[in-house]
Point group: C2
Chain length 736, copies 2
């Protein structure tokens, strides 16, 4: 374990955890003339002024999340943090006194506190049922302590540090190494809490534990957490720096997805800013090519056009860049980053700033009208600490239309990952079109399993069939085994996001099903200049064995039309018995021929069509979620499954179009029909796949994919139907 | 048939169908300074200027609605109407020339035209498949003709009138009495078309046909239209005046509901305004106590808080006061009514005015900032021409909350009526909470039965089980027989919308099921000052026979919690075989005891609870729409059916609460539980029903309903559990 003694605080006054001395001067200078900061400050002042006249309540810990004692301790740390800000800005001692009184009550109680009575956590806390919440408490309290540090008498400081803060920090670190000494967002919170209190206390030991981990932890090599995740690989580094290293890919992508990244960002940035303000020579924000700042951009880029995070892995839908953690992240990325005027556009939508140096900088930038529109473009993220564990591509349409496709070929995503290799979801105007189910949980809703994960998260939401990707033989990727899934990742084959005619990405997965190679290529292109783009999806499989392949497309809305002839079920039965199939009702099914099979639906007054190039003997299954759901945990959303039976090699070619509109006020329906006339698979070998797509106006596109070689300078030539084509790079596309 | 010769036009210039001469002066005076008028005018000018440079197309009629010739003829009349406006305002002859050229092309074609080739209408048109559309054409063309009348040479006028307009008007009247001489919205269009062209042509014969009907029609007493509606009762008056008389209740309610009223209002008001402008002494808008103006207010009051019409009868959801017909109605009601500043608030939301005297008046009112908020209050509408055929009550919450309940105890509603006696639907913030299914049709969406009514409109949407009201023995009201249903109506028992503590309405239905008397009382009340109100629903049945009673509550959203213990179905079967039951999947069922049965769901991040006072042996059925729906015509929406089996007399007491919130960004859930602790039915006799509702804070309400006597001065006294109560009027309520 490399130990670095970087801290040697002098005893002079400093404030680094909330507002710096320099920031404070600037705030005082500008107060009353910086609308967004003034507004946020007024809100906080009104809120806190109303609270601090009430009696302080520090109850003996008892309840789970949602219960009284849990909520009260949460409220307490929130109030202390905000009162600290107000004390710094206004200098009114009522805030300092309130904070001190609160601290004193905790200092009375803490030394005698046993572990929290609720036993279900792998790391039980004292104030809360899990150390994680205790760490949230300490992060906020460290900020409050920092704010009143100079105001407190040395005697009070000593009392508080001895009775409360140091024991609290040691509890979260040396007494709970399985919580503190991991590469995990829990540990990031633990590290930040201990490190920030260390900075506030000028305690070099705590800061060093936080930055570089505990030198000893004796964690069992097989120990797992409540999610079944391994606590620690032998020999793995721990501490804050190691967590920065391991948490983000070089592009700033967080393997658990944006929902968890949002939660994880706060301790990363709060501690980093505290370090930046107190030990700037550590350059913690510049670490790993400024990956924490990149991560803030990644978070924004991982939102739909209404600001909602794409619900990757166990992400709860509805979480968005309006969350407080994102206000904090955006302000920090602006102030400690490059003062990017595009970030001001996000801050303006958030309509709130943090009450610190960063929030001030944003408010000043907005006041000076330096704002520029935030340009969300198609973007590619690598996954894995080194960026070599697959990734994620977002295709975004240009100009007038607002289509987004999120293609996932990443690593497993830790315990929050889903078996969703090569799956994608589609959004239009920020609304789901081809959704990812998200998670099966109602966070903090007590009646749904106390707000915790539902059984259906495992039996449905994580399963492959819950995603828009191929399922082989009705089993999930890696047989749904977390350990196996965690040891593999998909691979980018190629991508090109800079071609004006077509945006294209291709990725492969060879491990999800042993002996089966999967290559999926997804492209967004406009059939004609100025037209809304369509999505072309080529899913190629090659296997040693004959298999059943199912490719589902979940959709939102109501079926309007289809070219097939479905037989509907008079009694609904589950589609299968396990791996998520038990949760699907089969509503109808249709056999297909070698033509196009089209299905059109209406959602949000927009018409969509899935055009599927099917073969004789394929079938279309019309399914709906909700079977074997005795307590109504699942949404009743529909899907179409394209099934190929007894196939060794197979190719699914699908086109998704957003083509028409309905206006319920004028009752006008426009462009209600798909413009796709034909899809011809001209060639499909191990080496090349060539498609011709013909539109009803007789225009057509030719798309050739190099299935093996992805080098952009590689020369290819191929003769198709007597015409020879030559090109460089992994694909060829023409509009004709 | 009473004939009145009221017209004797002089030959001097007049314009009465679009803009009056006086209006034109005012418009010219104010142009450029009346923002909303200027904007609407600029939009129209831009639209028409782009169209009139194209070649005029007057194709030989061939297509159905949605097809080319249909759409083109529609477009033509729309352009002529707007070009007429532009010619009047700008005086630019290019508009007049365009209109004249268009007229000439029609005049060439019309004399040789046979009936439209499509034969499915009971009144086939010539330009369109039905006379109704031909009448739409003539209304608009009469306005265009009026606009250029003075500009045309007498020779051209004579030619157009002889070849086109008079024959067209006679075709719609004397040649199609079954279309023209009815009490029906088709006839209103026919009357307006013929009358307006009569006014434009100064043709007394046409105007008199329009106002008072054809003197002779020889309509078969058994003739029916395409909806199965009787064409004409023997001896019934016809013509425009009779249609005004019969179409609206004295309160302005239109028995078919707001969706059809919106469509019907245009010809009523267009012709009335034309008459008002040309023959003001007729005072047509003052007719029947200004019922047409009242009808405009009724239309607005029949919208939810987002402006969408409540989907009564065959109403398509999404239709709203943003519709053009409502822009026209609101402007006319403002200008020809009392210049009500509250109407300006609607006009402002519509963000558009008509380009005529009325629209000018509105734009001027808005410019002068005379706008007042439109106050939507609880309101009661009678149904039937004389106001004695039941009615409809809308309960609206006051102050901070935005709950609306629409209780329907009206007449059948003609061929568009549903078997929905004593049903209600509930809205919050303009969104459905307890929805009415609406109609099963996708208007103008070709892939859904050509945009026409779907089979499921009859088999599901009209059936009683599709509504939130009691179904006896799995049969619909009146056995689903239109003729029987049309000969009865429910009856208001009492209502009180002016009590600060409680808003209450009670209505009875004795004919829907022979031998069964139904009395439903619905109240909205706040359990405590400042709290969002709850809805109390008491449905009392008395029957000669033992029956099964089903009371469904359809809801939006997802189940979160319940106090019962449902057994869920591993295979879904339809709940029944007919009368709509065949379209419900039974997902689960629970038996109840004599406690409260509670079901809580989440919708739009709001928590709702249905608390049902059930008896031993009652059951709760958890159902979902969509069984026996082979072409996916139905939405998959859920419902809870409370079933009482083998009961002669029965009482359903239900409370619906909107009590909690969820915030997906902060992940905070608040007030997730119902506050109802107990419902006690203290007394339930033929004479009185007394309820005590106890809340979890031990407050309670006592509500006593007089089941027989509704007189507000009637004195009652009753002893309940040893306490005696005395009061006046049909109900007693205290908060304690
Ligand atoms: Ca082309
Ligand atoms: Ca109780
Ligand atoms: Ca009370
Ligand atoms: Mg996933
Ligand atoms: Mg997923
Ligand atoms: Mg109805
Ligand atoms: Mg209905």
């Amino acid at each position: 374990q490399s130990k670095k003694q970087v801290y040697n605080f002098d005893s002079s006054s400093h404030h680094g955890l909330l507002i710096t001395n320099k920031g404070l001067e600037l705030i005082k200078e500008n107060l009353g003339t910086i609308p967004l900061f003034d507004k946020s400050l007024a809100q906080t002042k009104a809120e806190i002024d109303a609270i601090i006249v009430e009696e302080i309540e520090v109850p003996i810990p008892k309840d789970m999340a949602g219960g009284y004692t849990h909520t009260q301790h949460k409220k307490n740390y929130d109030v202390v943090q905000k009162a600290g800000v107000l004390f710094q800005i206004y200098g009114d001692e009522k805030y300092a006194t309130y904070i001190k009184d609160m601290f004193m009550e905790y200092a009375q109680m803490y030394p005698k506190l046993p572990l929290h009575p609720e036993t279900r956590s792998y790391s039980r806390g004292k104030l809360f049922w899990q150390c994680l919440n205790d760490a949230n408490w300490l992060v906020n309290m460290s900020q409050g302590y920092d704010a009143i540090y100079d105001w407190l008498s040395p005697k009070d400081r000593k009392f508080l540090e001895t009775k409360l803060f140091k024991p609290f920090a040691l509890f979260l670190s040396v007494e709970n190494p399985q919580f503190f000494n991991r590469i995990h967002n829990h540990s990031t919170w633990g590290n930040a809490a201990v490190g920030m209190m260390g900075l506030a206390m000028r305690d070099n030991q705590l800061v060093n534990y936080a930055l570089y981990g505990l030198p000893e932890d004796s964690i069992d090599a097989n120990a797992v957490d409540n999610d079944g995740g391994l606590i620690k690989k032998p020999g793995q580094d721990a501490g804050f720096i190691a967590n920065i290293e391991e948490a983000f890919s070089p592009d700033g992508y967080y393997t658990e997805g944006p929902y968890y990244q949002r939660y994880a960002m706060y301790p990363f940035l709060a501690f980093s800013v505290a370090l930046e303000n107190t030990v700037p020579e550590l350059k913690v924000l510049a670490y790993k090519d400024s990956v924490q700042i990149k991560a803030v951009y990644a978070l924004i880029d991982l939102t739909d056009s209404k600001g909602g995070f794409f619900p990757l892995n166990d992400g709860q839908k509805g979480m968005s860049f309006y969350n407080n953690a994102l206000v904090n992240s955006v302000d920090i990325a602006y102030h400690y980053g490059s003062k990017d005027p595009e970030l001001l556009a996000i801050a303006e939508i958030q309509n709130e700033v943090t009450l610190d140096d960063a929030g001030l900088a944003v408010a000043l930038g907005l006041k000076r009208n330096e704002i520029q529109p935030y340009q969300k473009r198609s973007v590619n993220f690598t996954d894995g600490p080194k960026g070599n564990q697959g990734g994620l591509t977002i295709l975004r349409s240009k100009e007038d239309s607002d289509l987004e496709l999120v293609f996932k070929y990443s690593a497993q995503g830790n315990s929050h990952g889903h078996y969703d290799k090569l799956s994608y979801s589609i959004y239009e105007n920020g609304d789901e079109v081809i959704p990812d189910y998200g998670l099966a949980r109602f966070v903090n809703i007590n009646s749904k399993n106390g707000g915790g994960y539902l059984k259906e998260n495992t039996t449905w939401a994580k399963q492959t069939i819950a995603h828009n990707t191929v399922v082989q033989n009705e089993t999930s990727h890696f047989n749904g085994d977390f350990k196996t899934g965690s040891s593999f990742h998909s691979q980018l084959h190629f991508q090109d996001l800079s071609n004006d005619l077509i945006q294209i990405v291709s990725a492969r997965e060879h491990n999800a099903y042993e002996g089966t190679e999967m290559l999926r290529t997804v492209a967004m292109l406009s059939p004609k200049e100025g037209m809304k783009p369509i999505i072309i999806d080529i899913f190629k499989l090659q296997s040693k064995n004959a298999n059943q392949y199912d490719l589902p497309f979940y959709y939102k809305g109501q079926l309007m039309d289809y070219s097939v002839d479905p037989v509907s079920e008079s009694i609904l039965k589950p589609l299968g018995t396990s791996n998520g199939y038990q949760h699907l009702w089969k509503e109808a099914s249709a056999v297909t021929n070698s033509d196009l099979s089209k299905v059109t639906w209406l959602h949000n007054n927009l018409f969509y069509t899935l055009s599927s190039k099917t073969s004789v003997g394929d079938s279309l299954l019309f399914v709906r979620q909700g079977a074997n759901d005795p307590v109504f945990n699942l949404r009743r959303e529909p899907g179409i499954i394209i099934r190929k039976s007894n196939a060794r090699d197979a190719i699914f070619v699908n086109i998704i179009e957003s083509h028409g509109t309905y206006d319920a006020v004028t009752e006008r329906a426009e462009n209600t029909e798909s413009i796709i006339d034909k899809i011809d698979i001209i060639q499909n070998t191990g080496t090349y796949t060539a498609l011709e797509i013909t539109y009803k106006d007789d225009n057509s596109n030719l798309l050739i994919i190099s299935n093996l070689k992805a080098d952009s300078s590689e020369k290819h030539s191929l003769t198709l139907n007597g015409t020879s084509y030559s090109w460089e790079g992994p694909y060829y596309f023409i509009n004709r």
